[in-house]
Amino acid sequence: MTVTPTAMRRLMREIAELQTNPPEGIRVVAGEDNMLDVTGIIQGPEGTPYAGGYFRVKFNFTEEFPAAPPKCRFLSKIFHPNVSSAGEICVNTLKKDWNSSYGIGHILVTVKCLLIYPNPESALDEEAGKLLLEDYESYCARARLITSVHCTPKTRPPEFDTPSAESQPVASGSGSTLTTTSAAASSATAPVPNLVASSSTKSLPGTTPSFTHPLKSSASNTLTTSSSSMSDKSTTKERLTSPSPLGPADSNVAAANPVDPAANLGKAAKRGAGNVPAGMEKRKKALKRL
């Protein structure tokens, strides 16, 4: 596996940044002898059935990176509608919505968000999808069980000994001054942007939400930074591939601003961690109503 020198340079920078200032609940391991041997570790988000687990995601870069996305799959067993038994992940970020400005951090944050907001509509594991749609409690129980058996180590992985970027002030020294990735680090410490989870009823074109649903509200999170009116299709829709919940798995975790994924990295992580408890409650209610 080789990548171009330019891509290598970029990866090197990002890995260094992710290792010195990792985002909340995410760590990156790269081989010293082979920096392309990248594994991400995602801490199961609190308030989800994955809490307590540590999930490993393996990256495979091709020579076309970053024009083409890396191939990513779960090494850890996980019960999740958007992850197949072989670990494949169904997320548009890794396929048709790939943007060459995305990096490792963006992907891991996207996958982490997918743990918080699974999307049964684009199920790879249709039985997990079915369970999520029909019986949320059983889904949680099942996911929790798999998590506890396969992904909950006796001790925390040593990578998590390094504090997250969020929990430490922005270092003024070595790595944090990097042009692109520093944005992630600094924005993560910045106040959480005004996420409009509450505005989930803002009408989406082609759909008429009749009730507040966590999947829906998460989808509308993608609209947070777009101030333009939804009726202006040519501008807003451009970046919103699939606002409908029928859309692909990451419609609910798509970058608020795809142009600057790094900045979003921090925000999304924050959102993921911060919004969960309330979201979980709402989701349970909503799913019961189904």
Partner: protein, 1014 residues
């Protein structure tokens, strides 16, 4: 299409198309167009370089017959571009000498020589009976005479000529020519979510997918619910309202739209009215080839007529770089067009006797495609006068008149334009041609005509690891059937050395592919021995690699590629332009895996699925079995980290022990059970989990929009697709086990119908991902399946008990029609398409998508290669400003030419130093890491925070004190070995190192790469 048993009933004109030969071109033109071509007789008059280039491309493409006419004797100067003439042919009739060589190009296309006597021009009588007539270099009066007749008699007419770096083409396909497919693009299609019932019915696409339609396009619909009148409706003309919406006119009297629907573009024929040549001389309609030269067509329209007039008056052409003749041509042209540009006219006159291979290739490739358009009605013809030039290719120091005089050599046509001293430069040039396929063959042909490397210092290196295959013969014109299986680079080199014996011993053929593994072959010495690199590659990976090498060794790189009728060229010049990898086209987006796995809605999705099904059934399990049998402790070591131990062990047990077939009959049974599993059981399982009436989280039906609810298939041995699947799958399975295959359908039918298929019961939800042998309980032991593969593994025989035993994984080969590979993929894809009610695709279409076949045709290759060589003149001249170079983009289907200046190398800055990708730091004598870090601190005030080489991270400031102390004193060669845990190969003389660094303010700065000599 080979309807063998029907052959006698078919029209003799409609011979079967040899798909093996025409495979790549069929993906450009399609069967319909090729059938029309197979009914067309083409006449080419004038068989100098341009005529033979056109004839070559038309013959390769495959028409009913090609007839050539040129009774004039061969002159030595003809050899400047006529690659099918040799020194010993001088004095013979051109057509007589070249026709037999043309005839070798394609056994399906008879090549006839119309005969004639020297001095005898073509006549109207002689052109009767042809569907297309091409005049190359005929006198203008003759052109008009012939065209008067063709215009009146429904014969397609093209006149073309080249003069040095100038070319002209005129098309007249008759007063009413019907073009059936003006773009050659696939009809657009997409899913819709609404149609307004209105006098201006607005259609909205699903999920903000761009429809890509243009005003005036036509569409029809399928699967619309509610407004069902739209399904299969007559094509409706649309107007575009936005990227996701379009208008289809009045829908007010139709039903109410409910949901669903797919629009499909319908290609409408276009009628084109051509003017005669007589009329076009007065009222030309210019086709612009370079918008930076927008007034040039008018000047050249007058100029070419002036040359004709000059010839008529003086019975000779203007002499090379002769001012007196040029003045006359200018004044003749000014009478036709007072606005014409005198400088350009003078150049045209100077080069009137010039004949250069790259221009001939450009015009010849272009005209050949126009001939095919005339014969097939496929793609939009050029309307109507085209003028092309590449004056920029002239040397910066213009040659003198004396320098351009003919010297009785085969290069006289090129000397007339560039002069003798530049000819010498061309002769002593040294190029490395990477690839000897389609572009490579054309490139070598042009180079041999140009006399590249014919001088004492000249050298051509060509490499290609491939051997010649049948599908190559359709456009890689240096290869013949007798060469099948031989190395491309060897055969191509020999072929062009025969075309120009000056190249004998000047071409070095290799088979080593370029890549990190061959850096001992293509090393410093090798690059020191060349002046530039020309890529003739078919993949991005090798292009990126060569780009990187050329940047490192500071060599100019000429890059090009084709895709069907589209082509592009790029010039990369050290310290001037950006490099190939600086701006890359985004690769095609992949389909999300859930779409492929559970929710296909297009045939591409089912083909992608069946392609991986092929690997999962006939390749991977067999490889795993072989790995188990050969690699010590395979289960323990290799599977440990896969996260899939149990599944993999199960698979090995199944393929090696429990389900191993002993007879072919068992293979049929296996195939039948596969059918049941894949096209019935798993569909029923999916519908069990997600029933057809399932409701999504938004209250909408789950199975709607892009998600199509599947239906299980019930096996029926009378269904040809069902049976085709069984036949292909059983044969491939048999291959895996070294069992003899079978093709008699009756055998398959009999066995398949007798198979007892176990009753299917869907698994209930909670059991998913749980060991099926365990009771279904929500406790930890039930979910824990990570350990019990050791029990399973006990079923396996020990590798030592089966010495030498191997299974045969299939190696996917798309071009062998008897190996069942594409048959399987087609059947599997179509069965799945039937599950999901997706329109199935034929074998040919499936083969292209599954085999990722890039459509290709000789015309585009010829043209693109010509454009590259026009840039090569500039490289040889050593031009060093951006404005002098051109990157090209063409699409012969439309047709379209576009040129742009190369993009400048991006400037970056550290401290006060500007730098580009072409700059680097250099260290000699294998410094230690400490010396290295100190150098940047002391000399450049840069604080190094990370050092890497290749994929290894050699050192970083946060690596820890212990590691730092260990590594800082190490010399680089040692450090690299230490970290990469691999020895540095002995041929490696330098390492390319990257660093991250910050300046005195602590700001991160980008710096050039670093070369460390070791």
């Amino acid at each position: 299409m080979a309807a063998t048993n029907l052959a006698s009933a078919m029209d003799v004109d409609e011979a079967a198309i040899d798909e093996g030969l025409y495979s790549r071109q069929l993906y450009v033109l399609g069967h319909e167009a090729m059938k029309r071509m197979a009914a067309s007789n083409v006449l080419i008059v004038g068989l100098k370089g341009l005529g033979v280039e056109i004839a070559k491309n038309v013959i390769l493409a495959g028409v009913k017959s090609v007839t050539v006419y040129d009774p004039e004797p061969v002159e030595i100067a003809d050899l400047s571009t006529q690659f099918f003439l040799r020194q010993e042919d001088v004095g013979k009739s051109r057509a007589e000498a070249a026709a037999p060589r043309l005839a070798e190009l394609n056994a399906y296309v008879p090549v006839r020589n119309l005969g004639g006597q020297p001095g005898q021009e073509i006549t109207v009588e002689l052109i009767k009976g042809f569907q297309a007539v091409v005049l190359c270099g005929a006198s203008l009066s003759k052109q008009v005479e012939i065209n008067d007749w063709t215009h009146a008699n429904g014969v397609h007419f093209i006149a073309a000529e080249t003069r040095g770096l100038f070319g002209s083409v005129f098309n007249d396909f008759g007063p009413k020519f019907t073009c059936v497919d003006p773009t050659g693009e696939q009809p657009l299609t997409g899913m819709i979510v609404s149609v307004d019932k209105d006098s201006e019915g607005l259609v909205t696409c699903l999920d903000e997918t761009r429809h890509g339609l243009e005003d005036g396009d036509f569409v029809t619909f399928t699967e619309v619910q509610g407004m069902t009148e739209l399904n299969g409706c007559e094509p409706r003309k649309i107007s575009v309202k936005g990227p996701y919406t379009f208008n289809i006119g009045d829908t007010s009297n139709l039903g109410d739209y409910i949901r669903g629907g797919i629009f499909t573009q319908v290609k409408m024929p276009k009628i084109i009215e051509f003017k005669s040549l007589r009329q076009s001389l007065k009222e030309p309609e210019f086709f612009v080839t370079d918008f930076a030269k927008f007034d040039r067509p008018a000047t050249l329209h007058a100029g070419f007529q002036a040359l004709a007039e000059f010839k008529a008056q003086q019975q000779r052409n203007p002499r090379p770089r002769n001012a007196e003749d040029a003045a006359q041509v200018v004044s003749l042209a000014k009478k036709i067009d007072p606005e014409a540009d005198e400088k350009v006219l003078a150049e045209l006159s100077y080069q009137a006797t010039g004949d250069v291979s790259p221009i001939v290739a450009v015009i010849g490739g272009f005209v050949a495609q126009e001939v095919l358009k005339a014969c097939s009605a496929k793609f939009h013809p050029m309307v109507q006068n085209m003028y092309f030039d590449s004056l920029e290719s002239l040397p910066s120091a213009l040659p003198t008149e004396a320098d351009c005089q003919p010297i009785g050599s085969r290069y006289d046509g090129q000397i007339a334009v560039f002069g003798r001293s530049f000819q010498e430069k061309i002769g002593n040039h040294r190029q490395f041609l990477v690839g000897s396929g389609a572009i490579g063959c054309e490139m070598l042909k042009n180079w041999s005509m140009m006399g590249l490397a014919s001088g004492p210092k000249g050298k051509i290196h060509v490499t290609d690891l491939d051997t010649i295959e049948k599908s190559n013969l359709n456009r890689q014109f240096l290869f013949r059937s007798k060469d099948l299986g031989q190395f491309k680079a060897v055969v191509a080199a020999a072929a062009v050395a025969a075309m120009n014996p000056d190249l004998v011993g000047k071409i070095d053929s290799k088979q080593d592919p370029v890549g990190p593994e061959t850096e001992n072959v293509y090393d410093q010495d090798f690059f020191d021995g060349i002046d530039g690199v020309t890529n003739a590659l078919d993949n991005v990976k090798a292009r990126l690699y060569m780009d990187q090498r050329c940047v490192f060794y500071l060599k100019p790189l000429l890059e090009s590629g084709t895709l069907g009728t589209k082509g592009n060229t790029q010039v990369i010049i050290p310290h001037l332009t950006e490099s190939y990898s600086s701006s890359q086209d985004p690769p095609e987006k992949e389909t999300p895996s859930c779409t492929v796995k559970n929710f296909p809605n297009a045939i591409q999705h089912t083909i992608e699925w069946s392609r991986s099904e092929f690997d999962n059934l006939f390749v991977k399990p067999l490889q795993a079995v072989n790995a188990y049998l050969t690699e010590p402790n395979y289960l323990e070591s290799n599977l440990k980290y896969s996260g899939q131990q149990k599944e993999q062990v199960e698979q090995i047990v199944s393929f090696l022990v429990s389900d191993k077939p002993l007879t072919f009959e068992e293979c049929i049974i296996w195939a039948r059970l596969q059918f049941e599993e894949k096209y019935n059981n798993s569909i029923r399982q999916l519908l069990f989990s997600l029933p057809k009436d399932a409701v999504a989280s938004n209250g909408q039906p789950f199975w709607s929009g892009p998600k199509r609810a599947p239906e299980p298939l019930t096996f029926d041995s009378n269904d040809s697709t069902h049976l085709a699947y069984i036949i292909a799958a059983a044969n491939l399975h048999a291959f895996n086990y070294g069992l003899r295959g079978e093709t008699n359908p009756a055998v398959f039918k009999k066995v398949a119908d007798s198979v007892l298929v176990p009753e299917f019961t869907p698994r209930s939800g909670v059991k998913v991902q749980i060991n099926e042998n365990e009771p279904v309980q929500n406790d930890a032991s039930a979910a824990s399946d990570g350990d019990d593969w050791t029990d399973l593994a006990k079923k396996l025989p020990s590798p030592s008990s089966m010495p030498g035993y191997r299974l045969n994984p299939v190696e996917f080969e798309k071009d062998d029609d008897s190996n069942h590979h594409i048959d399987f993929i087609t059947a599997a894809s179509n069965l799945r398409a039937m599950n999901y009610n997706i329109t199935i695709a034929d074998r040919h279409t499936t083969k292209q998508i599954a085999g990722k076949i890039i459509p290709a045709i000789a015309t585009t290759t010829s043209l693109v290669t010509g454009l590259v060589c026009l840039e090569l003149y500039k490289v040889i001249d050593g031009k060093n400003t951006l404005e002098e170079y051109k990157n090209g983009f063409v699409n012969l289907a439309l047709p379209f030419f576009g040129f742009s200046e190369p993009i400048a190398a991006k400037k970056s800055k550290y401290g006060e130093t500007d730098w580009t990708l072409w700059d680097r730091f250099e260290f000699k004598n294998d410094p230690t890491l400490r010396e290295f870090v100190d150098f940047f601190r002391n000399q450049h005030k840069l604080d190094v925070s990370m050092v890497s080489q290749g994929v290894s991270m050699l050192w970083s400031s946060f690596v820890g004190k212990k590691k730092s102390e260990e590594r800082l004193p190490m010399k680089f060669s040692k450090l690299v070995e230490h970290v990469s845990k691999k020895p540095v190969p002995s041929h490696t003389k330098h390492l390319i190192v990257e660093i991250m660094a910050s300046d005195e303010e602590g700001e991160d700065v980008e710096v050039p790469f670093i070369v460390v000599r070791i």
